[in-house]
Symmetry: C2
DNA sequence: GAATGTCATATTGTCCGACACTAAGGGGTA
DNA sequence: TACCCCTTAGTGTCGGACAATATGACATTC
């Protein structure tokens, strides 16, 4: 006879506190913006000590489900995108993902981002993107600034399609991938120029609301990046931790 | 004159504890698997109380950077995929993303997953996938089980391409999207049959190592899903919280 | 009346000390 | 060696304490 291996897990008090509050948030009984009672009150509500409540709150805080605008206010909130980005990026860095893995996914996300951005971006947004691009052109030679602006360029496109799911999915990936720029540039002299050209073409396509063209140029842009990575011999190199730069 | 709005942030002791340990992990000084000192020792190391250390540890624990195999062991670990999935899924549910957003991204991730799976999966893995599919066929009529198996089918394909970045990116999305199955099936009678057919064709293409065909069928599969969603009027409906089912 | 300044209060961040429970390792026995 | 018992250290939880300070109420000034 086989005993079903159900991993029994003792749930400690602080976990139960966190789970209970989390559950109420997910069930919609607590809505983002709602303010929670003080720690002392929560403690007697749950029948535990304040220390225990605090540990549970740290958990929720780190999950991004609650946050403190000021030390005295504790309110429910929806997890912030940048928090998720940080976490996912950290995880990918720690699991030592390769540039190949990052690139394969980027090959489909960036073209999609460009396509829906071309379809939905406002004229103002396109102009802002043009501004960003101009800054990038002006920053030639300054590696750190170039990377920063390149990232910003792609992030903006990712936001312009008004698809939050895509935004969430592509951000940590592109952040890690485009950091590779620094390692590629020295090897491929034409590289920089072609990146600039691709950016220009993407913006032009967006101005014309030509989704197909925007998508195509984005794809070529990322393909180009890969060629650079190959020249630099980075295909199966481990992507750097974004944190390492800041 | 404009005052630069520098958001002053006091960092509390428990945050500093967490940040210090986190930083050492990210810098590689602490490697996954390493065991950390006890709370009491950490407390005197950092010059704070045990309570303070504990709050910091809860933070790291929730981040998935450390975990306790048993209450007595505290070791460094790389964030687990399912943890990230849960978090991202929760976030998307709370920000009330629509099926359209989920679908748009899925339209590029699943074809990619099928393509690289067809290229890299072992014969055994393809057989296991076939097994999963057979179970799915056998589960006709049982909605909950059908959804569960459908999710598993897609997850497996996502893993078979051996691209962890894709795995991380697509999992929370597909989880949320395929839950919509339950809402679609009642409206579209042909729907179920066509999903089954698509799955079969994907497996067949994988057997032939025909990447293009696998990709094509995956795309058609997801397009089909969208047609179903349109019939059910779900395009801009908010995706359900996965938690709501469990 | 609006803006500014003062003050009392409640709540947080941190500390200390304590205790029950149990996982882990040590030593003894078969 | 393999098994069992026992000691011990470390965790989870508790209760209480205190300084610092955000907050809202109130008083003052223009």
């Amino acid at each position: 006879m086989s005993l079903t291996p159900r991993p029994i897990n003792v749930t400690f008090a602080y976990q139960q506190v966190a789970e209970e509050i989390e559950s109420q948030i997910l069930r919609g009984e607590l809505k983002p913006g709602d303010q929670l009672p003080g720690e002392t009150e929560l403690a007697q509500l749950f029948g535990v000590t304040r220390s225990t409540v605090r540990e549970g709150l740290r958990h929720l805080e780190s999950d991004g489900l609650v946050h403190r605008p000021s030390p005295r206010r504790l309110e429910v909130t929806v997890p912030q995108a940048d928090q998720l980005t940080t976490r996912a990026g950290r995880a990918m860095a720690l699991m030592k993902v390769t540039f190949r893995e990052l690139w394969e996914v980027t090959m489909v996300t960036e073209p999609l981002a460009a396509r829906i951005a071309a379809e939905r971006a406002s004229a103002d947004e396109i102009e802002m993107l043009q501004g960003l691009h101009s800054d990038l052109v002006g920053a030639e030679g300054q590696m750190a600034r170039t990377i920063e602006l390149d990232e910003a360029f792609h992030t903006r496109i990712g936001e312009m399609g008004r698809n939050r799911v895509l935004g969430l999915a592509r951000e940590p990936i592109s952040l890690l991938l485009f950091r590779g720029f620094a390692q590629i540039a020295p090897y491929a002299t034409q590289f920089y120029k072609r990146q600039i050209e691709a950016h220009s073409n993407i913006i032009a396509a967006m101005r014309d609301r030509d989704c197909d063209r925007a998508e195509k140029w984005a794809r070529m842009h990322i393909e180009d990046f890969w060629r650079g990575a190959q020249i630099a011999g980075l295909e199966d190199a481990v992507a750097l931790n974004p944190r390492a730069l800041s």
